[in-house]
């Protein structure tokens, strides 16, 4: 079969006035065949989004050619043929919905193509059904979750009856449930409708089921092959600042202990099979080690946050009133790291906005440090100085031209002297790894995404808070950006006396960072405990579609398969330690 997409020595160079040209894509040649599932990975700035925009003539080549079926993308006459053949779903769910209700948005593409009314109705019904959004067809888009919006966007593309679906980081801003649903739909469309899928992502586990993985680096194809062929080369991937999927990571560490575990396993089933083949029925080689070295460090017990039965209503006393919090219990001990887990709409944003008095309780108890928020006279401005709240996508709040000025905004509001402000800015910027002397006079817009986020974090740290609240600090970042932020938070924690509240739905992060976790659902605290407790009894989390860390999932799977390993390993080091008891070869 002839390829549906043929790229021949594609170059794309961005020429912006007054800047030096950027070679985003450097001589890529590529063929994609009908029915293929191709995943393109690469860190930010590797050229993957630029490449994607060439697939439906949103960008035209600087040099080289892109052919869709037999249409060259330079040929303006076939622009609509190309765009209806290669449908594209973008990253931000909010910025690609045109209409004010779901079904009309799905109809937008075919309306543009002049599809007659009867056929339009049929296509919209069909497309909504494909993505399981039929029951939401009359909803306005702002009343959908991110994942639902992306499903609407996919339906909007499918209604044009394309041959190829391009997902340009369409899962990057979604919560785990939304991400899983979008991926399931893409895989199902690929299998059942024969749709060609090109997915761009920096979540490696999304590449596991692909037919082919293409790794981009600095505008070139660095690696290409089946997932197994590509992820086998873990060292090479790390050089390119990329990860391997969690199961592969575990397999490779076990391979180092016992070479009979293959280093290129991709799925849990394969891992269980391989471990069972090696272990057989033999007894552990070394005695069990207790989890004693992982017990949480002792706290001095003072509660810095004490919240019980917290209630909050939005649009109180209007017909549109919504009860966002229906009874939340939450507390933080001095010096502790506490995670809050829950899906969009579970009430976690509402809860953390109480922590610095942005919202006031409408019921229940809320004491933060020495402030009783139920007392209308509580000095919330003073409270906000002591509790630093870092919003999700905090880089959106930067507004000054220079990085240093932006970080100085908070301290300046405190009425400090010039020297004091400067000192605080220096300290905060250095703490987030943006060297004061190098970065203070840089333009904010010239920073990378990860650097911007760190600058925003510095803006809060410059207030010298006692409690730091971070809402999804790694959302939307590539693996390198994620690791930098997490490392930074851990170092901050070690160097200063900080209590930390971390909102996350990345369970690996929770396992690595937190001493305790609270699970929220539908405005209530459902359960709480140490990560070990929460993850060793995973049913509640599964029921809420929240999941558990990948390694814990692997340990549960191994234990279920009859290998008597501990189920409560929550970090990869623990899991490797536990498994090595069975895997160390006899000498």
């Amino acid at each position: 079969m002839p390829p549906v997409i043929r790229i021949d020595n594609l170059w794309h160079i961005y020429n912006r006035e007054g800047e030096r040209p950027i070679e985003a894509v450097r001589g890529i040649s590529l063929e994609i065949h009908p029915g293929e599932y191709v995943v393109i990975v690469g860190q930010n700035g590797s050229g993957k989004s630029t490449l994607a925009k060439h697939l439906n003539a949103l960008l035209l080549p600087t040099r080289g050619d892109v052919w869709i079926n037999d249409w060259n993308t330079r040929d303006r006459e076939h622009k609509l043929d190309i765009r209806s053949t290669v449908g594209m779903v973008f990253q931000n769910p909010d910025n690609q919905i045109v209409a004010t209700i779901v079904e009309e948005d799905v109809a937008f593409g075919p309306e543009n193509l002049g599809v007659p009314h009867e056929e339009l109705r049929r296509r919209v019904d069909w497309a909504l059904d494909l993505v399981g959004m039929t029951e939401f067809r009359y909803r306005p888009p702002h009343r959908l979750s991110g994942g639902q919006k992306q499903r609407v966007a996919i339906a909007g593309v499918m209604a044009m009856k394309p041959q190829v679906l391009v997902l340009d980081e369409s899962t990057a801003l979604l919560d785990p449930l939304g991400r899983r649903q979008v991926l399931e739909i893409a895989r199902r469309l690929n299998r059942e409708e024969g749709l060609t899928v090109v997915a761009i992502t920096h979540f490696m586990e999304e590449a596991v089921h692909a037919d082919r993985v293409i790794v981009l680096h600095k505008g070139e194809i660095a690696l290409q092959g089946t997932p197994r062929e590509v992820f086998r080369q873990a060292d090479r991937l790390r050089d390119l600042a990329l990860d391997v999927p969690p199961v592969t990571d575990l397999a490779q560490r076990l391979h180092a202990i016992n070479p009979r575990i293959p280093p290129d396993l991709l799925t849990l089933e394969e891992l269980v099979e391989a471990v069972r083949a090696v272990v057989g029925t033999r007894a552990p080689v070394t005695p069990a080690r207790g989890g004693a070295n992982h017990t949480p460090q002792t706290q001095n017990g003072r509660r810095v946050v004490d919240i019980a039965d917290l209630r909050h209503l939005y649009l109180r006393n209007t017909p549109l009133e919504v009860e966002a919090l229906k009874g939340v219990d939450f507390d933080v001990l001095d010096g502790e790291t506490v995670a809050i887990m829950g899906h969009t709409g579970s009430g976690k944003s509402t809860l953390i906005q109480h922590l610095n008095g942005l919202l006031r309780p409408h019921g229940g108890r809320a004491r933060i440090l020495d402030y009783d928020l139920t007392d209308p006279k509580a000095d919330v401005r003073a409270l906000r100085r002591r509790v630093g709240l870092v919003f999700q996508f905090a880089e959106d709040q930067l507004f000054e031209r220079y990085v240093g000025d932006d970080v100085a905004f908070g301290p300046r509001q405190l009425g400090l002297s010039r020297e004091e402000v400067r000192e605080r800015v220096r300290e905060a910027m250095n703490a987030v790894g943006l060297d004061f002397d190098t970065f203070k006079d840089r333009y904010v817009w010239a920073l990378s995404g990860g650097e911007k986020r760190r600058a925003a974090l510095a803006g809060i740290l410059a207030l010298r808070p006692e409690i730091l609240v971070l809402d999804e600090p790694t959302a939307g970042l590539d693996p390198q950006g994620r690791n930098t932020i997490l490392g930074l938070i851990r170092r901050l924690k070690a160097e200063r006396h900080l209590s930390l509240v971390l909102v996350s739905h990345n369970m690996d992060e929770v396992a690595r960072m937190a001493q305790r976790g609270f699970v929220l659902a539908d405005g209530r605290t459902v359960t709480s405990g140490t990560p070990r407790q929460l993850f060793s009894q995973p049913q509640t989390l599964y029921d809420l579609n929240l999941g558990i860390p990948h390694v814990t999932e692997a340990m549960h799977a191994l234990a279920d398969a009859g290998i008597p390993v501990r189920r409560d390993c929550i970090t990869i080091e623990e899991a490797v330690g536990e498994l090595s008891r069975y895997l160390i070869p006899d000498t």
Binding site: L58, L80, R83, S84, G87, M88, F90, N92, D94, Q96, I97, V98, A99, T100, I101, E103, E104, A107, F108, G109, P110, E111, N112, G114, H117, L120, V124, P140, P141, H142, A153, G156, V157, M160, Y314, L315, R316, T318, P319, Q353, N356, L358, L359, R360, P376, R384, R385, G388, L389, V390, F391, A394, D396, Q397, F399, F409, G410, Q413, L414, I460
Partner: protein, 286 residues
């Protein structure tokens, strides 16, 4: 304390999803009826005319099952200005539509120092207030019972003949309206988020007291700059998304939603037009 809860103050596009005859009316007819009533309210100088309109509009609010207080919720913040306006009209009014020019004699009510309100100035004040309340209820009535989508379709179809004849951009207008309304909740949420983020790092928004205009305006920069930058970024994204979905303008587009009018729509429109003409054409005595 709900200082950051912006949705409370944004009532535009706050559709109340109830089922009523007013809700179900064909948006084209609803828009024409609305326009007729707005014209009637604006040009009726008499007590009786306004009373008729007030009764009619109140009846429509009841018919639409909207809580009365909610339809009037915009009145409270405007009340001080409205009262001041009425007072000024009472004091400074000399003549106008309610005065001798219209063939009505003005009878002084009382006199304090130089201030001498007459029946004419009293009428002007009362009629202005009534108009304000009527317009407020009318707009609430329209936006609370009509989804933004229906509004956009109504505008597009009403002006479609003009597009064919004099190339009036009806489709583009409707699209702009749709996108604008589509993003109102998005921007409201974003504004709220940015305000909260800046307050969290010590910003004092509106915290300088009423008369320190410069400080208060400067304090808005940390909110407005990110809001606009994000809006531009969203606009760029949206252009790409629309292009990717084959948008090339209104030519050759088909329509998913078709509007169907019923007898009740014609009746409703006839009622509104009839009353509007009656109110405007009758030489009401007072």
């Amino acid at each position: 304390m709900d200082e950051f809860e912006l949705a409370r103050y944004v009532t535009i596009g706050q559709y109340l999803p109830l089922d009523s005859r007013v809700h179900r009316m064909d948006p084209r007819f609803k828009l024409v009826a609305f326009t007729a009533l707005v014209v009637a309210v604006t040009f009726t100088p008499s007590y009786i005319g306004n009373a008729v309109l007030l009764v009619l509009i109140s009846y429509l609010v009841v018919l639409a099952r909207i809580p009365f207080g909610y339809a009037l919720s915009g009145l409270k913040p405007a009340l001080p200005v409205l009262l001041l306006l009425m007072a000024l009209q009472m004091i400074f009014y000399t003549e106008g539509f309610a005065g001798p020019a219209a063939g009505i004699a003005c009878v002084p009510l009382f006199k304090v120092w130089l201030i001498e309100p007459t029946t004419c100035s009293l009428k002007l004040a009362l009629v202005s207030a009534a108009r304000f309340i009527e317009l407020l209820m009318l707009t609430s009535l329209l936006t609370l019972t009509t989804t933004t989508t229906e509004l956009a379709h109504g505008v597009e179809r009403l002006f479609a003949p003009l597009q064919r004849r004099i190339n009036f951009p009806a489709h583009e207008l409707a699209l702009i309206l749709t996108i604008a309304l589509r993003f109102v909740p998005t921007f409201a949420e974003e504004l709220e988020r940015i305000m909260k983020a800046q307050v969290s790092r010590g910003a004092r928004i509106g915290g300088y007291g009423r008369f320190r205009v410069i400080q208060n305006t400067k304090a808005l920069l940390p909110v407005l700059v990110p809001l606009f930058m994000n809006a531009f970024r969203r606009a760029e994204d949206l252009i790409l998304a629309m292009e990717a979905r084959c948008y090339v303008g209104g030519r050759g587009r088909t329509h998913y939603t078709e509007l169907h009018s019923t007898q009740a729509d014609y009746l409703g429109l006839a009622l509104a037009l009839g009353i509007a003409i009656l109110v405007l054409a009758m030489p009401w005595p007072w």
